[in-house]
Amino acid sequence: MKFIIKILKDFPAYLWSGWGAIASIFLFIAFWDIGNQVYGALVLPSPLETFKTLTTMLQDESVWKEINITLYRASVGFGLSLIFGSLLGLLAGFFVTASIMSRPIVTILVGMPPIAWIVLAMIWFGMGDETVIFTVIVASFPIIFVGALQGTRTLDDDLKEMADSFKLPWHMKFFDVYFPHIFSYVFPAWVSGLGMAWKIVIMAELLATSDGMGASLAVSRSQLDTPTTLALVVIMIGSLMFIEYIILEPIKREVELWRD
């Protein structure tokens, strides 16, 4: 509870410190605008036109339906990876044999291109939710697994010994010694896993489904509707930035505070 209050208390200052980041986003948009002037509106619509399209799109209920479908798939896939990735990773970290054994398997999972997984999943599950969710899981699971594994592998033995010699009760040992350390590894892994899930869900939808934002992207592509395409991209990037910078980053900062 104290932890949450601290995050909320620091939140306004955290938000205010974001002006520099906003400035660099605007610089990026300015470069985008130059691209529009050089290559024309068909190739690259102007930022202003894109944002106007976006506003009209967001007033349309069917667009929200597509967004919800995508959100559902991403969260189911990511949620399953989060639970199993963290649990299995933590467990594997406690046993040296398990970590040695799991390493190459993770490399195989990470090394396999997501597009190949999509193709396989389309053969296994057909066109639909399962294909997308499966692809999301295989893409984000290894990231979370490795993070959790590192978290337990790198636990400081001296600290463990100290906790033992002071005869700390198990709950103190867990919340004050192990948890902050493990969490500081697992949490960043969740963040990158989420980023991966959000990207993969769009790609899988584009190739394997007829609904969701990825499918809308495919439709706008076939109609050469570049403003809509870019507006969709803005929604994807915007929502990812919102989750990452507004929700996760403040938590991450608090979690990692003990490190300095």
Partner: protein, 415 residues
Amino acid sequence: MNDNSREESNHANNHYLYYPDEKDVPTYLAYGFRPIFLLLPPYIVISMILWALVWSGYLNIPFMDNTLTWHVYEMLFGILTAGVLAFLTTGLPELFPGMVPFIGKRLKYIMILWIAGRVSFWFIDITGVYLTAILNLSMLLWLIWFAKDVVLDKLQRHSSLGYILVVIFGIETWFFASVSGHAITPSLDILKVALGAIVVLILLAMRRVNMESVNELMEDKDIDDIYIARPPVTNLAIFTVILFTIVEFLYPDSSTLGWLGFAAGAAILGITSDYKLKDEFILNQPFVLYYASIFVMLSIGYTLMGWDLLNEDIYGINHFRHFITTGGIGLAYMMVIITIGWIHTGRNLTSSIYTHLMIILIIIAAFMRGLIPFFEEYSSELYLWSAIVWTIPFLLYMKVFYKFLLTPRADGIQG
């Protein structure tokens, strides 16, 4: 004064190791800022009255048939040289403790040069543009020569101040070349470039003033923390302002410029995030809010200019620019003369109803002037009243600070 008592006094009071042993230096020439702060506020008041008479037609000064250009010129360069003179002659001996303060007779001659520059400006139709050019350019050139230590400093800690002054000198030369027919660039466009350079100078100078005085303020009030104005934050703001200025010169109507305006607005506002300290809360200190208001006004100016460029229904970019000039730059000068007026006359930074009013009235004047596009029907009243409201703080300054400027330092130190 012995070393012990010098150590006891706070750090901005023991800035120079040597004080020149010139005899019979009158108090008003005892340190660089004194004569300037005695002359600049009344000059601003008088020139605003003169402008009011010129614009309303009671006073006939044709200004080479280009009154607007020359109005902008004087508000930018005429006041700038005085502000920079005060900042450099007061600040450099503090940044470089081995430097001998610039006082007495030599200070008097430089002040006469500045006054001559102002007189030649108002009589430009009689004395001609070349005299004005020579007097004003030599003033700036002298300032650059005076600041040469900054550039020659091996550590290059403050060299950016020197370089930007050289750039401003180049722009002023370019301006005079244009008005005298030796360059084809429209003089008003050059003045917009000058404004960008001056904003950069102000960001650089304010970073130093800010850090020095906010930390001193905290020391006075026993607030145990340290304020650091991080250079990268200021540099990002400077980068965006330079980009905006260059693009505005080359492509004044481009939509890209609009986004750059937003970028500059956000980057400048970012400077205020450093006021959030690690442990202590200082945003309840009036002086911190005063300094922050400079960046807020500059930011509003660039953001509104950006918005104007992206919005087809509104044409007010030069009105919005007054948030930068009337607002940001006006506040920056005000804060420099208030800060130096307290600290370098041997006093603590003190806020009162007068300092509150000086800042608030400038902000109100900037809003009155900058928001004219939204209140077109009252535009003539707003032009007049914003000028009047903007002048009052300088009258208040004279009331509060003249007695300090005309008497020796309160702590007995020379200067």
